[in-house]
Symmetry: D2
Subunit: 342 residues, 4 copies
């Protein structure tokens, strides 16, 4: 059965990544693509790498006839999905790749995003889109909130450990190395090639990054008490990829066993042999997440590292994985492409 | 129908790229992987990006039982395929990704590769693997010789023009910009990250590059008289991609029309709108080749540029495309993945 | 003797490069830095790599007291220098790094830059800043027009050959590979890290690039008759560097001898041994230009390649070299730093 | 006064970096360059970026007449300096850039380097080369042991804090991002361009890195009791640069004040305004180290980050700084070049 798909915000990188994935998806058909500033253009002019595809022209959002649409991917800047989703026909399912529906608590949303939520009723019904941990709710959801890409990476490393209570919840430090595409395609001086090509630098340090709202919500829920992690992302000169190095206190072997057992049957989460480290280059272009565990020379210290492609498993791949569940397809449909290396 | 596939030389980049492509191919099944120095290792230790796949262990070539194999991809260093192919059971089809069977004339082989060919009978039967131009012969071939990656790129730009006689055959200059993976995975000081990351430099200049043997053979055959092009490759700091800038004398619109018409129904060759330039980043990870045509301010001069991914369309993707034809499958099976950008 | 220096447009890359060079210059002292949008900021906030220096704050141009200034470097967007230089006190010398005074013919200026020149009297007095060929005029100039970075690279390769009449003037093809910093620090989607990091692509092809105005002027003057070259730049993912591959018709050894003799005593121009190729990585961060000559397998064809750092020898290094001459200092003062490799 | 300098191991990256720095040093003159495998070659063939310099040919070490030499820089693989330095004439001063004399305790040396030290008498006399903290001893030393590049970076961040006792000594976590040149120029598959260009990956995790020997020695000495830090380096795709992110427990403002005060008069150590992060791109090519301090949202947690160029301040720049002191020159002679950005 073919499902009709609309992508809102198709001129950004997560929009393009959705098109890339759907290009070889067995049952999704793109019927509408929206972009605001670039409405009227052909997708091939905005993204020449998609030129071989027969795609609808980019239009303004309000030019789309949603009666014909089974599922909408909303890859919009933060804040724009709230109003939009409210007005969609009831039968249209939505996977939101932005931040609008990630936080269940309106106060938390306002704290991290600086404005009151305008669709708080919808916010309550949204399911958090970390597929491996919300699979059953996602199957029945009308609205799924894609996670932050950093939030996904770190949660793959930490959720099983927090749930199993094998690490010290009060001393979790996550140091991330982030590919530049996480900043999107918008024009910022700091994202020019020349600024980034030979630079490695931390940013949003000390607790300013908005994905912390997701960590606080999810980890506290999971632990049944407040959990506050320390989290610092760093920009590194690759286009795709996040490597999360999580410094934990606990027994390395116990940590490894929990992760290994949790992910034994997961199609996309690969736990490496004990002591091996994942690399971003080994997951780029794919929906896989690689996880490594190493003991430290200091007894009781363990390093858990997770690598994924922020545009794919961290965003658009996750979105398709969720859409598959929502539309009754095989969860892995269209997503088994191997990473591109070198 | 499932076809049993063996890959010889699986520890190199073209070997890994074959595995990547076949991972989502609908009817190919890998039953054997060989590597010489790395025999005994798991593919996931040699190429961690393929860890999610269930693959046979790497073995020495002579440990493979070929009676069970439908088609062999030989991704071996130059010179090693000749002896091997001779000894394979007759029923096994072969796609050779190396240089051993590209040149039909033994004297030309010896000139460019510095040693006499040891399987000259086979050499005569090999079909040159530029799919778009040798499609019918490839369908019935037992042995197909994959083209050089530079040779493929330039031929996509020039063959239709030489055949249609719309450019001056005595004044063809091709300046190539080459991704580093073309040098393979072997250890050379000049291929270290530190040597290449900030450098752009020509090599094999002046007519020393072995792919010239292919150009001389193919273009002269096509023109019915000797054609000798000028060709200089340059290393640029990308892993994948070749951009060929071909400086030609002829009428730009006539050139464009010939290319446009020739490739109108080709699934993998995309001719851009007149005046647009292709980029290597827009074909990376895919089997597509983008071609652009521009007129110069000097009347009678035309620039034709072609971009493809050397590991995919220039080598392993081409090989699978040929194998599809040889095994009676749809030519595009397993090859429609969109380029990965950014 | 210390010379007081003002830099206009200090928030761009050529401005920063001037500061970098002058930081260890024995007799230049920076007394004023201007920036338009960033006026009021510290240079260390605009360019953190210059934080160790004690520099004046960025101000608007009209806040500078030029009576105190010996020489002005104008690193402004094209079109802004014309008006400015007119109004400077007569005693202030000017090195303009922009395009405003490169073309001596007002009609040529209007053709390439799309607007009439507003300081045509000054335009006549400006000396073209290719130091090695205009040394004597530069010494006595009040206003020197820095060359385009592409224009400098190609002229180093070709001027001696045109002057010596050893190549066919009607068949000169120059294929350039250009580092991204040539596009400056302004915000363009195509200059984002993600757009450039894995891409190689031609631009301004077919004769649209403004540096052609300089080639036409200089080569025609030199030859005493119109010379029109074919020139295509390509963006490659390095921050600094231009590699010009010039395809010429002539005798390779004669070409080599002319270049070798012309540059025998030049401190910054290095002619490599015959047959060797220069690399951009071997001149980055320096004021050197490396030139290589190779014969082609086709008799009568020769490849001349030149590599330099577009921000240094192609722009700010050249500017300091000229300023040294204008102020009576040693031409190499402050410019002998070795390239930074790797 | 001119000092005669010999560089042993000149065909590696730290050797080339010494030549780069000395090229503009006011009082150092290179009289001998050694290389083992590349003896007999010109330096310009091994490092084309140094072609403009008039340098001695590379020779085997035993072909050098040391009677003429004032100071030797030994940039040799670990283990080779011990035997060599023993046999040098007494009057020759030595700066060793390798690991042979970094550890004062022979047992520690054997633990980390896997072999007994063969010059234990000399080992006792060597001064640890972290200039800013061993300045007085270095002035009078005959033999100075250059620090590890990671060891230098982390010590600049931590030494003042350990000395001032403002952080918890039992909970120090250092996550490093390392440029690839730290691996040197030797041939390793993992250091090929293709392997590193799009990859970020940890290595030597869990306490295996040899620089831990230096940390244990220096921090324990400083604290007067055993201090054991947790330390994980990660390879990132830049040629030069180390960014150390140090996760500490202590008061952020107190930490900042200590660092600010300690480095107030240091010419090469720059403490950024509170809350700002250093970038490797802002120190590349220079002898500067930038340090940033940020408070975390969790009270009592502080992030201290330090960035330097591993080949310069982390190795060859440090070596020249020490040589300046040993030879009675100004400590900053030849080292004030500004970072190269972009």
């Amino acid at each position: 059965m073919t499902h009709n798909i609309a992508i809102l915000g198709a001129s950004g990188y997560t929009g393009a990544e959705l098109v890339r994935i759907i290009a070889t998806h067995p049952s999704f058909r793109i019927v509408a693509l929206s972009a605001d500033r670039k409405a009227g253009m052909d997708m091939s002019d905005v993204f020449p790498h998609l030129r071989h595809l027969d795609l609808p022209k980019l239009v303004k959002m309000d030019a789309i006839d949603f009666t014909n649409v089974d599922l909408v991917f909303a890859a919009l800047p933060h804040g724009l999905s709230q109003a939009l989703v409210k007005d969609l026909p009831d039968g249209v399912k939505v996977v939101d790749l932005g931040a609008d529906f990630r936080l269940r608590d309106p106060a938390a949303y306002e704290k991290w995003y600086g404005a009151a939520h305008v669709a708080t009723n919808l916010q309550k019904t949204a399911v958090y889109g970390l597929t491996e941990f919300y699979r059953d709710q996602i199957k029945n959801a009308r609205l799924v909130a894609g996670t932050g890409c950093n939030a996904a990476t770190v949660q793959f490393a930490l959720r099983p450990l927090i749930a199993a209570d094998v690490v010290d919840l009060d001393d979790i430090i996550c140091d991330l190395k982030n590919g530049v595409s996480g900043a999107g395609r918008s024009l910022k001086e700091t994202m020019l090639f020349t600024e980034r090509a030979t630079d490695v630098q931390g940013y949003a340090q000390g607790g300013k990054h908005r994905h912390l709202g997701e960590f606080d919500q999810e980890f506290s829920d999971l632990a049944g008490r407040p959990v506050t992690i320390q989290f610092t992302p760093h920009l590194v000169p690759v286009s795709r990829g996040i490597l999360a190095s999580c410094y934990l206190k606990g027994d390395a072997q116990a940590v490894y066993d929990v992760l290994n057992k949790t992910y034994a049957n997961e199609p996309f989460i690969v736990v490496l042999p004990f002591g091996q480290q994942p690399g971003t280059g080994h997951v780029a272009g794919s929906n896989f997440c690689h996880i490594g565990v190493s003991a430290d020379r200091i007894s009781g210290r363990v390093l858990v590292t997770a690598a994924l492609d922020n545009l794919c498993k961290g965003s658009s791949g996750q979105a398709v994985q969720n859409a598959n569940l929502m539309l009754g397809e095989d969860e892995t449909a269209g997503l088994m492409m191997a990473p591109v290396f070198p």
